[in-house]
Amino acid sequence: MLIPPLIAKLPEVKSAVVSDLGGGVVEALREREGESVAAVVGFLWSTATEAGHQLGLGSLRLLSFAGPVRGTVVATAGSNLVAAFVEPSSSLPSVEKLLTGALEKKEA
């Protein structure tokens, strides 16, 4: 399982998708439309990376977006992207920290 179990168990994480950098789905948790979500996440990562390069910010590590109800956090895990969809969006900062912590632990 590529989605960190700690994240999968969180009640605030409604669904999660692991995709490759090209937008192909690798794994989906509680997400029926894993393929389309993976494609959007992959494309979003590439556009944000492009903007970051233009701004001289280096490589992209973490991306998140929030609305009034839900939020999403995307992080790199090796050659993959892990996206977690969070509700309520106020829980996004804590899920962000847990996700990056879990992924760093995995890589170490």
Binding site: E50, A51, L55, S59, L60, L63, A66, G67, P93, K97
Partner: protein
């Protein structure tokens, strides 16, 4: 508008502040050294693509944060969350103080919304509408229908439904955001207690969190003690440590 962006640029760590419209056209920008107008124009296009992609996944968005090896950018929606409109982008290096920046960006967002809506008395705000801005761009007039942000809406005239809940909620707060509608003085006092308790765990941003939380749990009516439990639960989500979270909830058990 440039004055508001300049205020953001004064924050330690901020390299550039940019406003672009839904088409990716630069509306105004303010940046240090390398972040000149051509770069800001170029990056506005890439950022618009990113915003449009986020909208595919989540139509209603308020903010986008991207963390890079050598810095970050933060995007804030200046339109009502489901509409396409202007976006504020703040580019920063790793020295940015996240708590300060969060508050400063929210204040700037409210002022920019007012400026875009054209109904403001703030000095400098709105001055770029209908004529070229200092950066040479012209703000389109089609955006003038945006309502002001909730934090900047005028207070209802009925003073019975409004009360200041003490220091944290006074009109003279330096944060400039700290006014919410409350049903009675007891509710106001409870909000102050919430802010004080939360501040023990998250610091000075607590007031902003409480204000946002009140808007979430009591969006259509002045806050009353009937909504105390949902408010406490909502605020508890801001505290990472489970023990601290439990302590916070316990301290506010009896509204």
């Amino acid at each position: 508008m440039e004055q508001i962006l300049q205020g953001l640029l004064d924050l330690p760590g901020v390299s550039a502040a940019i406003v672009f419209d839904a088409t990716g056209a630069l509306v105004a920008s303010c940046g240090r050294a390398l972040y000149d107008r051509p770069l800001c124009e170029q990056v506005s296009g890439a950022l618009t693509k990113a915003v449009d992609t986020v909208r595919l996944q989540q139509e209603e968005w308020e903010s986008i944060n991207a963390l890079f090896a050598d810095g970050k950018f933060l995007l804030q929606n200046l339109a009502p969350s489901s509409a396409r409109g202007h976006v504020l982008a703040v580019v920063a290096d790793s020295t940015l103080n996240a708590s300060f920046a969060t508050v400063a960006i929210r204040v700037a967002t409210n002022r920019l919304r007012k400026s875009i809506a054209g109904g403001t008395s703030e000095p400098g705000a709105g001055s770029s509408l209908g004529r070229p801005s200092a950066s040479g761009a012209t703000a389109p007039s089609a955006v003038s229908t945006h309502p002001p942000a909730s934090g900047s809406q005028p207070l209802p005239s009925d003073s019975k439904v409004l009360a200041n809940s003490g220091v944290s909620w006074s009109k003279s707060s330096s944060v400039g955001l700290s006014r919410v509608a409350v049903a009675n003085p007891a509710s106001a006092a409870f909000l102050s207690r919430c802010a004080k308790q939360l501040a023990r765990h998250v610091g000075p941003i607590a007031k902003v969190y409480v204000e946002e939380s009140v808007r979430r749990v009591s969006p259509d009516a002045p806050f009353s003690l009937a909504a105390a439990n949902p408010l406490v639960n909502d605020l508890a989500a801001q505290i990472e440590d489970p023990d601290d979270r439990a302590e916070f909830c316990k301290a506010l058990e009896n509204p």
